[in-house]
Subunit: 317 residues, 2 copies
């Protein structure tokens, strides 16, 4: 059982899938949906899609998100109409996913139903569950146009490249959200709960913000092992260094480990993997250093194996 | 003022625009919306789009519908998901139009508003008005799967190539529809009302099925001149020969002329243009034979000029 965001979570899951035996081992991934947005009338789930495309062999490996061999014809035409917003590009291949999803949601299906239907095509080999079927959206409080404004996370991330100083992240709707069907049971039955090396604030943090999910993690019998997304004092990918300071967490492997281990997340951490050469002192948590760069499939699989072994040792301890 | 369907109406309007002086002459086209459908959650208006793309220079001239240089990436991906229906293809360029339209309709704008917004990009040089802002859909009563069924016009036309015998056409919603804003006024103020050489049953017939519109045509002071879509006993384009027998009208220039002139349409015809060599005896209507094949711009412009001149003579008579 893995809690995961987008690109980093997707790659880690591919490594984990390679490290396990598909005949006997089952992987459930609970994926962040706080980045989801409605654009040009279509419901887009960036993290779920990154994970689905990556595990289903459809991802653009270079970019890390979106479809391989993507084209942008419709997007160019939308620009021809002056359609707003113009800072989020939808690829022609990717569009079909959003059309199917939006139509199903409009027909009354839940995001869980939709995700299962889309995965029937992609066969990710991992059970993908949205963290919740309710609409939860991360908004970012920024100073803009001489005033304080809350903008959608994607606007902050994509349009402003996370360069606009954030005062706070607000997960709109999270407090009244409940875990998607299957999430609580999967947590209760898991042999190990892994926190993928995803953004600790707007990916893992958002997932753990769902009240019933946070509780299910805190009471799960399985050991909880996290993988640091911070290597050598900087995020391996993405802009976690723009997010961590906002919640007062240092951009270090130790800072994130301590954050996960702290009471705010129910003291949830049993084991913490940091990158070779990094140090982290996290009271009450077994810390190990292994290579954490997902530069190829072998390295990523080894990293997943290390996480599983640390979880085993935590369970046996 | 022109009543028009899709491809034939679009080409005729281009000829009419060429025949008139844009500085002094205003053209309003009232376009059939009975072919409109919702597909993959998107509202598609085939006739309005054919006219808009043709007049705006975006049409695929070869095919007569859709965008020039079109690609079908999203459609291929929709097929990858097994998304139904699979018999109506949306091009990648075309898709942007439907996304903008659907989003505006969902936001509460009328189809008239949407059409004006789309035309702000395409600058057709003609005021395009949908026949109505209400949802009117032509359904076709057919024998299928050992029973009588009503299917959407597009399913009959595109999926079954109009080869499935039609028992009747039903314009669902038409009786409670009202003309779109501007239509009644344009009819009342027109110097001439032209019936484009479009399908007399499912294009012009549907437009004239809107009660307030039919009444406004019948009481308009301007002469009404039609152009026969039937040349040498067969439709120039499309499958009007599959539609006319259903309403008991012969597939001849005379048959269609008499149909338009009959009491069912309020005896609306003053002049009727048939193709050189065709004959039509329509009591009380001035019939003229001129070349009616829209094979190039010059011929189409000449045909529009002939219609305008016939209208002038009817007015002066």
């Amino acid at each position: 059982m893995v809690l995961a965001g987008g690109v980093g979570g997707a790659r880690f899951l591919r490594g984990l899938r390679a490290a396990l035996d598909p005949a006997t081992d089952r992987i459930t991934a609970v994926v962040n949906t706080g980045d989801d947005l409605t654009i040009h009338g279509l419901r887009v789930c960036p993290d779920l899609d990154s994970v689905m495309y990556t595990l289903g062999g459809g991802i653009d490996e270079e970019r890390g998100w979106g479809r391989a061999g993507e084209t942008w014809t419709t997007q160019t035409e939308l620009a021809g109409y002056g359609a707003e917003p113009d800072w989020f590009s939808l690829g022609d291949r990717d569009l079909a996913t959003h059309l199917v999803r939006t139509r199903m949601l409009d027909a009354g299906f839940s995001l869980s139903d939709v995700t299962a239907a889309l995965c029937a095509r992609w066969q990710p080999g991992v059970e993908l569950l949205p963290m919740t079927d309710q609409r939860v959206e991360t908004h970012v409080l920024v100073d803009l146009d001489a005033g304080s404004r809350a903008i959608h996370f994607q606007e902050w991330w994509v349009r402003y490249r996370a360069q606009l100083p954030a005062r706070a992240f607000v997960q709109v709707g999270v407090e009244s959200s409940v875990p998607a069907p299957g999430v609580v049971q999967a947590l209760a039955e898991a042999d190990a709960i892994l926190l993928a090396p995803s953004n600790p604030v707007v990916s893992i943090g958002t997932i753990l913000g769902v009240p019933g999910l946070r509780d299910a993690v805190a009471t799960a019998p399985a050991p909880i092992v996290g993988l640091s997304p911070i290597v050598g004092g900087a995020p391996v990918r993405g802009m976690a260094d723009r997010c961590l300071p906002v919640i007062g967490v240092p951009t270090t492997a130790e800072g994130v480990g301590r954050h996960y281990a702290a009471r705010t997340h129910g003291g949830l951490l049993d084991g913490w993997l940091v990158h070779t050469g990094d140090r982290a002192d996290v009271p009450g948590v077994a810390v190990e250093a292994v290579p954490l760069l997902m530069t190829d499939d072998d390295r990523t699989r080894a990293m997943a194996q290390a996480a599983l072994e640390l979880a085993r040792r935590c369970r046996d301890a």
